[in-house]
Amino acid sequence: MKEHDLRFAKFLLLVNGGVPLLLLGWDACRHKLGANPVNFAIHTTGMLALVFLLLTLLVTPLRKITGLNWLIFSRRTLGLYAFFYASLHFLIFFSLDRSFSVSGTLSEMLKRKYLFVGLTGLLVMVPLALTSTNAMIKRLGGKRWRALHRLAYVAALAGVIHYYMQVKADVRQPLAFAAVLALLLGYRLVASLRQPGSQPVAPTAKPKN
C-alpha cells in the first residue's frame, strides 16, 4: 500500500471513529437520548470503548492471517479511540451522574467492584495513550514499548469483566464480548506457543508527515 493511500485510510478511520461521538452529541442536543439520557450516554460510550479495544486487538491477528502488513496503520488510531471513549465514559459518570463530586466518585469506585475493575481498565490505558507517539516509541525502544503495550490485554479484560459484572440478568451481550476477546487473546497464546520467539510488532517510528 502506498504512503498516500495509507494516510487516506488513517483519515478514513479517524472520521469514522468520530461518527458515533457526533451522533451521540447531536442526539443529546435534540434530547433524543431516551428517558434516561445520562445512563444512555454512559452505556453507549462504554460500549464504544469496548468495541474499539477489541478492534485494536484484532489488528495483529488479522495482519498475520491475511499477510496484509499495512493493516498495522490502524492500531494506534483504534487504540486512541478506545481510550477516548473510555475516558468519556468515566467523565460522564463523574460529571452528570456523580455531579462532579470527587469524594462521591472515589468512594463509589472503591466500594463497587465493577466500578473498580472498570477504573483499572481506564487507568491502564493512560500510559498506553501517553506512549502512543512516534517520539515515545523511539525513546522506549521497540522491546520495552511492546512489553508496556501488552497492558492493552489487561484493559480489554477489565472492560469486559466490568461490563459483565454490572448486568442484572441478561449476560448475553457481555458474554459475546468475552467470547471475542477470548478468541483474540487465544490466538496470541497459540501463536506464541507455536513460535516461542515471535513478538508482537511495535510500529517503527516514522518521521512525522
Binding site: 478514513l12 469514522n16 442526539d27 431516551g34 434516561n36 444512555f40 440478568a169
Partner: protein
Amino acid sequence: MIGREQDYPSASPCQCRDCAAPTRGGKSRLTHTGRLLGLDRRAQNEPEQERGRQCPGHLKSEMSHQLKEPDKIPAGEITDPAVYFNRRAFMRAGIVAASAVLTGLVYRRLNRVATGTIDTPPLQGLTKPVATSAETAGFRAADQETSLQDITHYNNFYEFSTDKEGVADAAAKFQTNGWQVSVEGLAQKPGVFDLDDLRKISPPEERVYRMRCVEAWSMVIPWAGFSLSKLLDRVQPLSAAKYVAFETLLDPKRLPGQQSGVLDWPYIEGLRMDEAMHPLTLLASGIYGRALPPQDGAPIRLVVPWKYGFKGIKSIVKIKLVATQPRTTWSLQAPHEYGFYANVNPKVDHPRWSQATEQRIGESGRRPTLMFNGYAEQVAGLYTGMDLRANF
C-alpha cells in the same frame, strides 16, 4: 473542489524537471484535507522515485509515448491533470462520506432510542380520590409526574426484551383479548375473573405513586386501578392464607422473551397478606387515564409503591392465596441480591450498587432515595421490629 488552491494546474508554473519554469516557493498550498483526499501531486509521486519530479501533464504524455508519437496526440485527448486529480479527490470524498454514513447507520441500528405514541383507549369512570387521612395521603404523590412518553418507553419487562428502550416496540402487538385472572388457593370463594368482572369490583381510581426501580432510577406514575384488597375480599381468604403469590402469563409465542433463559419463566412474585391487603397496594389497569399499554404490564398488573419496581408483577394471570412465603423470580435468580421483601431502603445497598440516591427520570442529577420510597408513614408499621437489613 476540496483543496483550496493547487499548485499544478497546467497554466501555473510546475516543479517537474521537464518544465523549465522555476518552482514557486516549493511549499504546498493545499489544505491538509485536500492532501488526504489525493490533491497533493507530490505526495503521490514521491514514493516512486523513477518518476521523480514530474508533473501530471508530462507523466501522461510520457506514458503515451509507447503508443503514439507524442506530437500526434491531439491536445484535447490528454486528460487535464486538474480533472484527473479532481476525480481522485472526488472519489475519496465519496468514500469518506459513504463510510461515515454507513458507520452512522450501524450506530443508529445498535443504539435505538424508543419512540412511538400510546393510543390505548381512555378508561371509563375514572375517579380521583381526595386525600382524607394519612393512609389515603399516599394515594397522590405531590411530585411532578413523569411523562407518558417516558413511562411507556423505558420499561423493565424481560418477557419482551431485556433492553428497556426496546420493550415498547417488542410489545406493540401484544393482544389481551379474553384475558382472565384466576384467584385461587386458600379462599372461600375462589374464582376466575375476566376484565369486565374486575371492572365491576371497583371503578378505576387514579393513584399517583412514586416508582423506584432497584436499578436506582425512579418515576412518578399516575396509575389507574383499585386496591388489591377489594379483589381479595371478594374471594374471602381463609385464615390459613398468610401470603399471596402472583404469576405472569406463560406464553413464549406472545411473550418472546420467554424463549430465552434469562429468567425462570413464568415470572412469579409474592406479598405477605398484610402487605397485599394494604390500601396502597394497587391492581392497576391503566396509566394517565388510559388502558395500560402492553409494555407497562397490560392488561392488569400489581403496583406496590414502597417496594422496588420488580415486585410489581405484570400481565397477571394467577393470584394464589398460600400459607407459606412464595418463591419470587428475582430472589431465585440472585438470592443474595434480591430478597422477598424488597422494600425501598436507602440504607441497604444492592451488593453491586448504592441505593442511597436515584435518577428521577426527566430530572438532571440524582436525588436522595426515601425510606419506603417516601411511604414510611403509611407502611412502616408493617415491619415493626423486623431487621430490614436481613429481610432485604
